[in-house]
Amino acid sequence: MGIPVIEIAGVSKHFAIRKEKSLKERLVNFGRSNLHRESFWALQDLDLTIESGSTVGLVGPNGSGKSTLLKLIGGILQPTSGTVQLRGRLAALLELGAGFHPDLTGRENVYLNAAVLGITREQTNRYFDAIVDFSGIEPFIDTQVKFYSSGMYVRLAFAVAVHVDPDILLVDEVLAVGDEPFQRKCMDRILGFQQEGRTIVLVSHNLDQVADLCDRAIVLEKGRVRADGVPRDALRVLRADFAQTQREDVEKHAAATGAPTLRITDVAVATHGTPTDRVMMRPGDDLAVFVTVGADRPIDGWNVGISVRNTSGQRVLSTDAVMMGAAPLAAVHGTTTARFDLPGLWIGEGDYTVDAALSVDGLTEADSVREGAHLTVTSTGRYVGSTFVEPRISLV
């Protein structure tokens, strides 16, 4: 530990994508060619040092520069300014089956793909049986790969990929392939790599995976480092950002659509004290959700419900007046507020959002508010997931 194997100093990457690639276009657009330039900074002034034996997760929203950074480390792209320096052998798994040719057989493609990844012929000969065995597609190894199912294709490609012998392994979103047993095999392999002291840099949108595998997470945003540290802290920053983005989207959407007669005017939450649109809580706190409803004429036979979702949009819980047997509710005219009590809410660490919805006469939604209020749950960090426990371990 401690020896820097990747040193990134002052790296910026600028893309100027000219859309014209032919002589005609260049002549026709001569002088105006700047109009046809799509120009942006994919990475700006990045300084990073990655140490040997560490597993680093690169996370961030789409277009934040994760893959560009990986390609710069892999030497596939060159930085506009700054330097990227490495120690040791590097292998990049940016795409499974790079160089696979559909007309060649599985066997031929194994050799080709292995050579592309820098495995020598001698090594490939030695590993060949292991590769085929790992992929589990032995009966089809002499079939052209164009006849493979997509699952077989990625299994074979992955089987080759895990037999690389690098000091630094770059992985771009390729871990989640195949069925569950195969995925488990892949994970075991990655854990094996870690034990052998290899350095792994992976790009993933699966934040749970990053939290599981990595000992460091780097959050990129618009080409800059937003957060860098132990996965739990870095991912918290990213989750908060995702929630923020979603909130802005919701506001835009609300501004664009018209107003129904029965409306939700406010959603608020409180653990104790005044209801607000944002609370910090600990697992097991009592939560109250307030949904304020306004009607410009008297309406009865209405129903109101709430749901709590995590940042990936999964519903953690959901309930409404009908479900609780509280319907019919008294007719509403003017403004009224419904209070939902959720006593002892044992939910896990993370950011959550509270949605509210209204319906009239059991019909479809009259109005809904997505992400009307926000919860941030902080806890011990001893586990991940949506339910809270206080885990203990002992040997029996």
Partner: protein, 314 residues
Amino acid sequence: MTNDAEARAVRLAAEPLRPASPHPAFFSGTARSVRDIFGQRELLGLLVRRELKAKYKDSALGFFWSLAKPLALLLVYYVAIGRFLNAEASPRNTGGVPDFAIFIFCGLTAWQLFSDIVVGGTGSILSNAGLIKKVYLPREVFPLSVVGASLVNFAFQLVVLVGATIALGHVPTGGRWLYGLLSLLVLVVWSSALALLLAAVNVYLRDVQYMVEILIMILFWASPIVYAWRMVDGAIDGWMQQLYLANPMTQVVLGFQKAFWVAGDTWTVDGRPVDAQPANLATMLAVTLVVSLVLLWLSQRLFTRLQANFAQEV
């Protein structure tokens, strides 16, 4: 931490940092480029095989098709030019070209190799875009794999050519083969230089590949492939003739004819022997070889420069 990991850490600590993407200097980076390319010879071999295997896979006649095109051309030119235009030596035209079929096939074989390398090489970077975007390799391997695959096709045609000379009883022997070898060297070096250069330029300006196809078609007629050098000698002289002879492919075609077209030595017109090739052909080929080597080096250096942005341009 396991022993493996410790050993790795110790080994890495001893290694110096190196740049992630090589950006060698124009002159001093040559050795490194050569080393890098040489280091990928296994991959190069596999890519050559891929080109060859994938091309005619699933066709019933398979590899035969790579011979079909030159043989069909041979037939067309032999009938149209040799017979109908009466270029071949015959009772009707006693001063015509002897063994006209061999004569044409010498030129066609050389030209086929040239056009395979240049046309294939020009498109090679774009057709391997998938790999170039995802893996770092010395990108020269793609044009070079085209050279390799074209040479294999060429070998088959050469077998047919030599077989035909044996069938006609005019077997090339001894020093003739040196002409063949020298010409082949010039051909490979010169066309590889072009392939590397055009492959790189084509990434930035896609017109190049279409331009090349047309130029190949036109330049076919600028070398003595279907007509004899003797006819050019009579038609142009002075600087125009020098220019004509300066074309490396003209020299290569003449060299192939010198090597494999044995009947050319005993060509007589009106009872007098005539020169089938210029007298100083060997010298010309040697000079062209040196020039081509310099050009190959230059275009490789240029290729290195241009390849830095391949991954974002293809």
